[in-house]
């Protein structure tokens, strides 16, 4: 750490001590100061990515007296160009909720006792030492890259245990499998610049007006400048995105699969597909009829044409509810080579039991029509978490993966990692660990019944609220005395309710960090303020536990040379005891870990620059490749010769990790399958869950911000007026939403912010006092293992009925 950083932090720390004045603030109204505040000199500003979604806006953080006092959009950031959303502007106040966790807490019967960190680390290390194979690590797309890498190395390179999976499994696993199936390698080809260039934007089951508002504005603000952008919204309910749309195509759940098939059918039938593009760059593929795999099997173009022939516009109308002429309209747009068409999607296509299929099919629509590889012509998945891409997909903190796009099942991948980590050959376990749903099944099942996970460490996420079917996957833990749940958190949550040990965590600019956003952009920030009380970095926790395990004699915590696997040297080459908190910031541990991680990234051509390059930039999009003059160049458009340095000479487009081994991308055929559960007489309503603009995911942070909570103070159920009339429920009345799996009480919002069609209700999941995931279904995609939160059968009952029926 250079001298400037050190003195900045020291000053910040000293100031924090004198900043306890904050205490009596009742509302978020500003105190009126008597003397002028020297806005030029009194506030230190520094860059950081926003803490919330996957857009990855950069903010300028204003720090005064050791506290975050203001936030501004970063004018120099390419992602957001000075603009933020209402969450981003208020991101500073997430640090200051009164109930921040500040001491390690150990459960004692129904209460908690404060314990020292040393004891807490001891408890965790001993649980792991007793049964390392029964330990699981549940992480997050909000882990910073170094946090995720440390956890990954600790588990796979240290314990030889692959039971590590992230919440991103619930969020974008189907996007990953879709990219792998199509490109042969994960993550989007395009970037946000596509939004500046497209003539048509299609949002597939996607509501960016609320979930990615800065990206949404980036598109619709073009209209204010006189540009023409046609927005086509395909969805199961009307949203704020629909308000700005030129066309709204209301579809039945799973209709997206049929729509994509219908477009491809028409492109073939009308002979409007891009023959040159397909000839040069595409191959055809379909799942095997027996034992389908993610790679599938090659099929001929003729075979593909035969199979897709039945998806006529009329048949698609039957399956999707979208009128046949609208399918023709979409096919007409894709058939027009003069348009630039960008598709975006998020949870609608990912939280889907055909998630891998529909992702692949939408890529296929773009391939077949040649709408690929030019700015504005791109299929792009948007992520919901700030580092779902950076930490989960790239570091590979998934039960089957290793860093840099490697797989535990592949021997050469394991060998490469063992060499890069300098650990003995055979350290890495070749059998994939438990994916999220399975991990929690095994944890909440008693040991006698084969539940072979008995200690679970949760960092930076809230599974007690976000897992589907909570009664099956989480709530049972309550009665299992031999199961031990460790939760590192910043606030009490639905997960800490069942925790046996709670570790207080530092968050956002209370620590150094790096994120990777939706457009392959790796971002870096420095610690700016101290965490409250005894809250500490998640990365430090992992390292401290690892070191204690080494002290307890666990050989896995040493590398081949007998050194600690997380040994960090200072500039003079002396080892710094970073496992001791007081020395953790003597060096920049993030930099040390990132420099180690960087060498894993070149195999899949996701090259990262040295740490110091990210200090200077507002993020860089990989592959970042060193130029002859020593400069580092980012890549905006992958697989396209005009921008991607890895495309072979003489090709316009090359998928250099192609499944078919010939540089071609795969156009998939998948047959339409109905949803896993559909409404019936007993449960007549479709239930869809999702998010709102003001709250981020489980609301742990945003529900502690006054202006956000004021705007959206409670969870609710959106009901169509006719359904409300039939059910005889009134505006604001609290009703029971129930499925075969559980119940949730929610106030009714008729014609709410979103407007579901007759027979559909929508519930946002942010409210920890109204857990809709007691009701949702845990059915999941066969390849991505991502559950479908977007559709299941439910019904609404009035509470008064319950009373009258006794």
């Amino acid at each position: 750490m250079d001298a400037d950083r050190r003195s900045f932090l020291k000053g910040a720390a000293m100031a924090a001590a004198s900043a306890a004045v904050a205490g009596q603030q009742e509302t978020f109204a500003l105190p009126i100061v008597d003397q002028p505040v020297d806005a030029d000199g009194g506030v230190l500003w520094n860059k950081a990515p926003c803490r919330f979604c996957g857009t990855g806006c950069h903010v300028q953080v204003g720090v005064q007296d050791g506290r975050v006092v203001a936030v501004a959009g970063d004018k120099n950031a390419d992602v957001n160009k000075g603009l933020l959303c209402v969450k981003g502007y208020h991101v500073g106040s997430i640090l200051y909720g009164k109930d921040r966790l500040t001491k390690p807490l150990l459960k004692k019967e129904d209460d908690y006792v404060e314990i020292e960190w040393d004891e807490a680390i001891d408890i965790v290390a001993k649980r792991i030492q007793d049964a390392p194979e029964k330990f699981a690590f549940y992480g997050s797309g909000q882990w910073t890259i170094p946090e995720g890498f440390a956890a990954q190395k600790f588990m796979k390179g240290g314990l030889g245990n692959n039971h590590i999976d992230p919440n991103a499994r619930l969020c974008m696993a189907s996007a990953v499998t879709g990219f792998l199936a199509t490109y042969g390698v994960d993550e989007p080809a395009g970037c946000y610049a596509d939004l500046d260039e497209c003539d048509v934007l299609i949002t597939w089951g996607n509501n960016p007006a609320e979930m990615h508002p800065v990206l949404f504005s980036r598109v619709i603000d073009r209209r204010s400048r006189g540009e023409q952008v046609r927005l086509i919204d395909i969805g199961t309910r009307r949203t704020r995105t629909t308000d700005a749309a030129d066309d709204f195509l209301l579809m039945q759940p799973h209709g997206d699969v049929a729509i994509a098939l219908g477009i491809m059918h028409l492109l073939i039938e009308d002979d409007s597909y891009d023959k040159d593009f397909v000839e040069a760059n595409c191959a055809f593929r379909s799942p095997q009829s027996e034992g389908p795999t993610l790679q599938g099997e090659a099929i001929s173009f003729d075979e593909y044409k035969t199979r897709i022939a039945k998806y006529t516009p009329e048949h698609v109308e039957e399956l999707s509810g979208v009128p046949a002429d609208k399918i023709r309209m979409l096919a007409g747009l894709f058939g027009d080579r003069n348009l630039r068409i960008t598709s975006t999607w998020c949870m609608g296509m990912n939280q889907h039991t055909m998630g891998t299929a529909v992702n692949s099919l939408v890529h296929g629509v773009h391939f077949l029509s040649g709408h690929f590889g030019k700015p504005g012509d791109s299929p792009t998945s948007l992520t919901g978490q700030p580092s779902a891409c950076g930490t989960v997909r790239e570091v590979g903190t998934l039960a089957h993966a290793l860093p840099g796009g490697r797989l535990v099942a592949k021997e050469d991948h394991r060998t490469q990692c063992e060499e890069l980590w300098n650990v003995p050959a055979g350290r890495i376990n070749p059998v994939p660990g438990y994916h999220t749903v399975k991990m929690f099944e095994q944890f909440t099942k008693s040991s006698a019944d084969g539940g072979d996970i008995d200690t679970l460490f949760v960092q930076v996420t809230n599974p007690g609220q976000t897992l589907p079917n909570l009664n099956k996957l989480f709530n049972d833990k309550k009665n299992l005395k031999d199961k031990f749940l460790i939760v590192a958190e910043v606030y009490p949550t639905a997960t800490t309710v069942l925790a046996d040990l709670i570790l207080p965590a530092a968050m956002w600019v209370e620590k150094n960090g790096m994120f990777g956003n939706s457009e392959r952009r790796t971002q870096q920030w420095f610690k700016m303020v101290d965490p409250p009380g005894e809250a500490r970095d998640d990365c430090w926790m992992t390292i401290a536990i690892a070191h204690r395990l080494m002290e307890l004699g666990h050989e896995g915590m040493k590398n081949k040379d007998g050194e600690f696997i997380f040994a960090v040297q200072d500039e003079d080459g002396n080892e710094v005891p970073v496992w001791e908190w007081e020395h953790y910031y003597d060096v920049n541990v993030d930099k040390a870990i990132f420099e180690e991680y960087r060498h894993f990234t070149t195999m899949k051509h996701k090259n990262l620059a040295p740490y110091d390059e990210y200090v200077k930039a507002r993020g860089l999009r990989w592959p970042v490749v060193e130029q002859e003059d020593g400069a580092w160049r980012e890549t905006k458009f992958r697989f396209a010769a005009f921008d991607d340095p890895f495309v072979a000479e003489g090709r316009d487009i090359e998928f250099y990790h192609s499944t078919s081994g010939d540089g071609r991308g795969q156009i998939w055929f998948h047959d339409y399958q109905p949803p896993p559960e559909v409404p019936d007489d007993e449960f007549p309503l479709w239930l869809c869950t999702g998010r709102v603009l003001e709250h981020w995911h489980t609301g742990t942070m945003t529900r502690r911000v006054a202006s956000l909570n004021r705007a959206m103070p409670t969870g609710y159920v959106e009901v169509h007026p006719d359904d409300a009339a039939e059910l005889n429920v009134r505006q604001g009345e609290v009703v029971i939403v129930e499925s075969r799996r559980g119940v949730c009480e929610l106030p009714v919002w008729i014609d709410g912010r979103g407007k579901p069609p007759r027979g559909t209700v929508f519930v946002p999941f942010f409210d920890e006092t109204k857990l809709i995931n007691n009701v949702t279904l845990d059915a999941h995609d066969p390849f991505s293992k991502q559950p479908d939160y977007k559709k299941c059968a439910a019904r609404i009952r009035r509470r008064s009925m319950e009373v009258s029926q006794g």
């Binding site: 806005a39 501004a72 202006s707 007026p721």
Partner: protein, 283 residues
């Protein structure tokens, strides 16, 4: 925040509408009296409840009512249970009427005389709407229509009616207002306790810029990001009292008032580099 003051003309029209409604409710209420009051969609509601001359359309099934053998045309009434706080609610018809309300003339050439008391008062009001200086203000009034057009009706050019001011947007047109400006709770949940327990203390608003000497033009003490139009707050009919420029007819503000490179996020090295000084040696 209370609504706009009503003019006599509007009051008169409202009375007519009210009387028609009373008759309608009496008649139609009989027919629907046994209904259990299941609400209808807000969109249906708002169309029926806005008089035609304000831009609403008559419902197709509005039917004449016969009183003592005389047919009286009526607007279809809504039953009481339907008359809840409508989503389209308090601001639903503003767009139709407000832009026609005459605006007070603004005299550009009479210098305002802002007082410190007014300035403090305005600072206080502004502070209740911002988590910190530079935060986008929350929306302080009921609003359910969140389309940009609804906001733009009043905030596009700014409005002043009586004491009520709808400030002009201080930045260029951005199409998704509620992306940054948090609205009050949705009407069905208006009574939910939304208080939070927080220790957050935002950056206070600066009270003045720096002057090099008495009488020198002060520097701009805040960032101008999203505050590009100075006169929105510092002059014109929607200016904050106490914040007004003493010379509103001058419109090239940065000619005299210097912004801060740091606050503007312009390149600003920690120290201003200069060429090395001259070496002066003894003769």
């Amino acid at each position: 925040m209370s609504g706009f003051k009503t003019s006599d003309r509007v009051t008169g029209r409202s009375t007519t509408v009210f009387l028609v409604c009373v008759i309608g409710v009496a008649a139609v209420g009989y027919c629907v009296g046994v209904s259990d009051g299941v609400p209808k969609s807000d969109s249906q509601l708002s169309i029926n409840s806005i008089p035609a001359e304000q831009g609403g359309e008559r419902s197709a099934d509005a039917r004449p009512v016969s009183v003592n053998g005389v047919e009286i045309p009526s607007i279809e009434a809504t039953n009481y249970a339907d008359m809840r706080r409508s989503e389209e609610g308090p601001t639903s018809h503003w767009k139709m009427g407000l832009d026609q309300i005459p605006q007070p003339a603004y005299d550009l050439l009479t210098p305002p005389k802002p007082t410190p008391e007014e300035k403090l008062q305005s600072t206080r009001i502004r502070a209740t709407r911002r988590a910190f200086n530079g935060a986008p203000p929350i929306i302080p009034h009921a609003v359910e229509r969140t389309s940009d057009g609804a906001c733009y009706a009043c905030h596009g050019k700014g409005m002043k009616i009586g004491d009520q001011v709808a400030g002009q947007m201080s930045h260029g047109f951005l199409a998704n207002c509620t992306q940054c400006h948090a609205p009050p709770p949705p009407t069905p949940f208006a009574d939910v306790d939304a208080s939070v327990a927080s220790n957050y203390v935002g950056l206070p608003a600066p009270t003045q810029g720096k002057r090099a000497f008495p009488g020198a033009p002060p520097t701009i003490p805040h960032s101008t990001l999203m505050r590009e139009s100075c006169l929105v707050c510092h002059g014109g009919k929607t200016a904050w009292s106490g914040f007004e420029s003493t010379h509103p007819w001058r419109s090239s503000c940065t000619q005299c008032h210097a912004p801060s490179a740091a606050l503007e996020q312009a390149p600003s090295p920690a120290e201003v580099d200069m060429l090395p000084g001259l070496r002066v040696i003894d003769r």
